[in-house]
């Protein structure tokens, strides 16, 4: 690519463009031109001579539009007659629609204090949104109780299957392993006192009161909560939620309520199942490693676990169910209109769910301790 500048007498710069222009050879800079155009007397127009021009591609267009911009700013006329017809037309097209000025997002650095302030305001705002969402869910629940909430029964059954039966394999695996681990950790200590048999108490009580509900809830947060967020987020992207709203159907009743119901019904059941799997895991360690007979282990577990011991775990499971479903649905409904927003919704639903599981677990444990169950 060859460029030469000729100052002809009548304040015109004649630009001779020749050779082959190929994007693979890079874009020539306009410095040379700016130097020539900047020397006094300032030129009034530029013209082109392209008789030596060979093949050309967008590199030529890019170079020429930079020149045109430069000249536009300094009111130097650009005579396009010398350009090949195709080049002139393409440049015409590129400048046909003026740039929309305030549409361009400006990137500017915010000072540290301002960022902290924004983060605090944002945290407050998202707290408010969460509370508003919880309130709406409560209203929707009261409509459900009065039989006024509109949703499809078939959806509810399907959701119950998705977050109940289909979660059984993963819940089995996790809770069996948690039982094994608890028994193992306990056995190492208790063996020192010759009190291996109390492994049964340890595993039974820990699973029933705490670990069963907690582990199931965390599995469901990753499995089902994220799925809720992604489903609702995608519906948001496709305007499906708008379509429900304009039909006068509350997305809260139609989409969120069945999901909360399904999880709240299924999580306690899964939790009970997880308790038994955990105890089974403890039993495997007890019988296999500590030489306790199965009957002995069974009786010890039964003695340690009154039915009341299951109550805290079940109450927690219900609360965790609400938490997981609410965070999944909240993040899904807040989703913006893009594919990456759906990914963010799924991620933040899991984070929100796990944080709220742990926080509410702590609160509930204190309450149960106070009222003595």
């Amino acid at each position: 690519m060859d460029i030469n500048f000729d100052r002809t007498a009548d304040d015109t710069i004649l630009i001779r463009i020749g050779g082959n222009w190929n994007i693979e050879n890079g874009l020539p800079s306009t410095d040379e031109f700016e130097r020539v155009a900047g020397t006094k007397p300032l030129p009034a127009r530029i013209a082109f001579d392209t008789t030596q021009l060979g093949d050309w591609d967008s590199s030529l267009l890019a170079y020429l539009s930079k020149l045109t911009d430069y000249c536009g700013q300094r009111s130097i006329a650009v005579l396009r007659q010398g350009l090949p017809e195709g080049v002139a037309r393409l440049i015409e097209l590129a400048s046909a629609v003026p740039e929309t000025k305030d549409a361009r997002k400006e990137r500017h650095r915010t000072p540290f204090l301002a960022r902290v302030g924004e983060a605090v305001l944002y945290a407050g705002e998202s707290m408010g949104e969460m509370l508003a969402f919880t309130g709406e869910a409560a209203l929707s629940f009261s409509r459900f109780i009065r039989g006024k909430a509109r949703f499809r029964r078939a959806d509810l059954w399907l959701l119950m299957e998705e977050c109940g039966a289909q979660a059984v394999p993963i819940v089995s695996l996790i809770s069996l392993l948690v039982g094994l681990i608890l028994a193992f950790v306990g056995a190492v200590q208790l063996k020192m006192f010759g009190a291996q048999i109390y492994v049964a108490d340890l595993v039974g009580i820990a699973m029933a009161r705490e670990m069963g509900a907690m582990m199931t809830a965390i599995v469901m947060a990753g499995r089902t909560g994220a799925a809720f967020a992604a489903q609702l987020g995608t519906m948001q992207v496709n305007e499906e939620i708008d379509a429900l709203k304009t039909l006068g159907i509350s997305p809260m009743d139609f989409l969120v309520m069945p999901r909360i119901l399904a999880l709240v019904l299924m999580l306690p059941l899964l939790c009970l199942y997880a308790n038994f799997m955990g105890i089974l895991g403890g039993g495997i360690v007890g019988v296999g490693l500590l030489d306790i007979s199965p009957i002995h282990y069974y009786h010890e577990t039964k003695a340690a676990l009154s039915l009341m011991q299951f109550l805290p775990g079940l109450i927690k499971a219900v609360v965790f169910g609400v938490m997981v479903a609410l965070s999944g649905c909240l993040r899904g409904m807040q989703c913006k209109r893009s594919a990456s927003a759906v990914g963010e919704a799924a991620t933040s639903s899991v984070v929100t769910a796990i944080v709220s599981i742990i926080v509410s677990d702590a609160i509930l444990t204190v309450i149960f301790d106070r009222i003595g169950i």
């Binding site: 003026p98 929309t100 305030d102 549409a103 509109r150 959806d155 995608t234 519906m235 496709n238 305007e239 499906e240 708008d242 379509a243 429900l244 709203k245 304009t246 039909l247 006068g248 159907i249």
Partner: protein, 254 residues
Amino acid sequence: MDRFDKKESCIEVQDLTMAYGSFVIQRDLSFTVNRGDIFIIMGGSGCGKSTLLRNMVGLQAPAKGKVLYNGASFWDSGPEERKNIMRRFGILYQSGALWSSMTLAENVALPLSEYTRLSHAEIRELVSLKLALVGLAGFEEFYPSEISGGMCKRAGIARAMALDPDILFFDEPSAGLDPISARRLDELIVELRDSLGTTVVVVTHELASIFAIGDNSVFLDAESRTMIAVGDPKKLIEESRDPKIRNFLTRGNP
């Protein structure tokens, strides 16, 4: 046509300014849609036609101004009144917005089962009729992901018409349709207006449909961010001197 008083206004838009945050899309829009009209919203892509529709149907609150339905201001009404106004709309979204977890038949049936006391069998019949009207007979049991984009569009139209609404809003109904389907759709729109007295608001840039069906129109301009013409498109092309409008209506070869 004579059944409907041409002068009776159905939707009035007054000094509407719409914005996303501080980014103003269009300002100072004022126009009236008369009952029984086919009203065209036209303009280059990205000028805010879909946004105007969202403001009119109640999905997005205007930054300023009013939208009146039969004289009642939509955005100043309470939630119950708004719901009642919205009940009379049928809306086709630009992307179809079919509920992806339901079949086409279930999509069209949902408004019917929500708002009517029809039996299952009756709903099925109505659904088949609506789907046949848009040329989708036999696709009842298909899911939206199993049909083409143009077919989704048509199924969306069937759903919008499900309840025989008073006002139909169509966002680019013929985009993605072949010319024959597009013409049949135009005929369907005119037929709905003539037989059921439906008021239709159509966002479109299909020149053929604009002239074939439009009674009245508004032209939004992206550059000046406001409307630059209102009126019957057939008159606009003859009378307007604005080069932007002439360019648009003649595809740039005046």
